[in-house]
């Protein structure tokens, strides 16, 4: 009896350990694969070509700057929409809405988060883009701005859901302490509840932005996919092509092992580095402001 219990214990711990390690192994394998396929591009394509302004693989032109700028402009636009709107909604649900309203809103937002992005792309092509073209008098409605709007919409449920959980986790005693000092509801939210939930709110923003950078299907459908470098503010209202859309559109047709193939993987590496930077930046902000005692408390 004793012996079989020990044996079971041994197997279970090992199994849990193995699944933990396998996650690390998978990440490392993906990383090595990405490097093996992508790094040769640096030798094969001249630096002048790689940093030129034209992405035209059939003519051996591999300028990746327009793609990077396309991704950045769409992502920043999406973040500018999703962060204020998402946190505002989270504050409303957690702090202001009456209970019955909260019980309707929270599942609704989570349902929104489960919408396939192709469906949002549909909505973009059929509703947002034609109306935007008429409203702003543009030559085409398939622009970076359209992409930002829809990506913002995709990121909002993520931001709301995570930020709301963080706000909800702030003990009621914090709020009562501030109220008892004569703070109004708004002053309490701004100076006490939000700062107390800071790390969770930052995580929410990070996850939302991460979702926006990595999103492929919607942007491919609504941004027009023209690899033009965004230089002016007006570029927001012209077509752009993002890194993710480029990979998704061209990977299927590229010759395995060609220069074009390696360059697409290089774009993958850049994408990976960008999201890594966002993650590291966000977590360093969270950890720097936290002293030991605060970590224990939270």
């Amino acid at each position: 009896m004793e012996k079989s219990l020990n044996w079971r214990e041994f197997v279970i711990t090992r199994a849990i350990k193995a699944s933990g390690y396998s996650a690390i192994v998978f990440v490392l394998l993906i990383f090595f694969f990405l490097m093996r396929e992508g790094l040769p591009a640096i030798g094969e394509v001249e630096a002048g070509n790689l940093f030129s302004l034209r992405w035209y693989p059939i003519e051996e032109m591999f300028g990746i700057l327009p793609l990077i700028s396309g991704s950045i402009i769409v992502t920043i636009g999406a973040a500018l929409i999703a962060v204020p709107f998402g946190i505002g909604t989270a504050v409303y649900i957690s702090e202001i809405a009456p209970r019955w309203m909260r019980e309707i809103l929270k599942p609704l937002v989570e349902l929104l988060g489960g919408l396939p992005s192709v469906v949002l792309g549909f909505l973009g092509i059929l509703v947002v883009s034609p109306n935007l073209r008429i409203l702003l008098d543009l030559p085409t409605g398939l622009t970076a701005f359209t992409g930002s709007l829809l990506l913002g919409g995709i990121a909002v449920p993520t931001v709301v859901s995570v930020a709301e959980d963080a706000l909800d986790a702030v003990p009621r005693a914090y709020r009562e302490g501030a109220w008892a000092l004569g703070a109004t509801k708004w002053q309490t939210i701004w100076r006490v509840t939000l700062p107390a939930a800071k790390s969770g709110v930052l995580t929410a923003i990070m996850l939302g932005v991460g979702r926006a950078i990595g999103e492929t299907m919607t942007v491919m459908m609504v941004t027009g996919n023209a690899p033009v470098l965004a230089t002016r503010l007006g570029s927001l209202f012209s077509p752009v092509r993002t890194m993710t859309a480029t990979i998704a559109a061209e990977m299927g047709e590229v010759a395995n092992g060609s220069v074009h193939y390696h360059t697409l993987f290089l774009i993958g590496i850049i994408l990976f580095l960008i999201s890594l930077t966002v993650n590291v930046l966000a977590s360093s902000v969270v950890f720097r402001t936290k002293k030991r005692a605060e970590r224990i408390l939270s």
């Binding site: 003990p171 914090y174 002293k291 030991r292 005692a293």
Partner: protein, 257 residues
């Protein structure tokens, strides 16, 4: 209950209240609370002590309440009147909670926050208030060299005294304390209790103690609450040596509760 009406800071008249979830309630409470004295509200859990305390600064406004009736007069004004300026009331009636909850700011900002909300911007005034209130709460010597550290880095006992100082900085007239020492060690408890005896010279202090012993140590006047009713209200010494009611005696002697 022969307490001179003229000396009463607070007059509670036939106050009844019931929460929406039916958890705790108050039934027809009438009592006068004296200025410059420590009034203790004690009794077993669920008796309505905290509820009464939270009526006095209208913190119950934010809870689901089914019914309430009666009046609470502070300096002759009914604070339960819907026209009452609740923010001003809460500056006049400060509150310290059972769990010390420093706001997520530095020690100094914890003290100055309430004053800044009230519109005080002058640095000299704020610095004065920080020193004065931390001294009153008997914690100045322990924190004076690290006022810019986050308040959550302090020990529990220190945090609770910072929370007391935070309330004192506003120079309220009435201080409510809801089991302020329930999580503290005996030494910190002693410091808080000593501070209360100092405070009553200038303030009206109302305390919900965390034990009968603390009630007996600190009370000038004591009120015994049981299941939402005020059973007995008297001078502290009398209450803890010769209670009139059988129920009070049983509770003090530890026969129930």
């Amino acid at each position: 209950m022969v307490i001179n009406r003229l000396m009463n800071k607070i007059e509670i008249e036939n106050l009844s209240l019931q929460y929406a979830d039916g958890a705790e309630s108050l039934r027809g409470i009438s009592m006068g609370i004296r200025q410059n004295a420590v009034t203790v509200l004690f009794g077993p859990a669920g008796g309505g002590k905290s509820t009464l305390l939270r009526c006095l600064n209208r913190l119950n406004d934010l809870t689901d309440i089914r019914t309430s009736s009666g009046r609470i007069l502070i300096d002759g004004e009914n604070i339960l009147d819907p026209k009452t300026d609740v923010i001003a009331l809460r500056r006049k009636v400060g509150m310290v909670f059972a769990r010390p909850v420093p706001l997520p700011m530095s020690i100094r900002e914890n003290i100055t926050y309430g004053l800044e909300l009230a519109g005080e911007k002058r640095r000299t005034k704020l610095n004065e208030a920080v020193e004065r209130s931390l001294k009153l709460a008997a914690i100045w010597d322990e924190v004076k060299d690290r006022l810019n550290d986050p308040a959550v880095a302090l020990s529990g006992g220190q945090q609770q005294r910072v929370c007391l100082a935070r309330v004192l900085a506003l120079q309220p007239e009435i201080i409510l304390l809801d089991e302020p020492t329930s999580g503290l060690d005996p030494i910190s408890t002693g410091k808080v209790e000593a501070a209360l005896q100092e405070l009553k010279k200038d303030y009206t202090v109302i305390l919900v103690p965390h034990s009968v012993q603390q009630a007996a140590r600190t009370a000038d006047h004591a009120a015994f609450f049981l299941q939402g009713e005020l059973i007995e209200y008297d001078n502290g010494k009398k209450m803890f040596t010769a209670p009139k009611e059988k129920k009070t005696e049983d509770y003090i002697m530890g026969r129930f509760g």
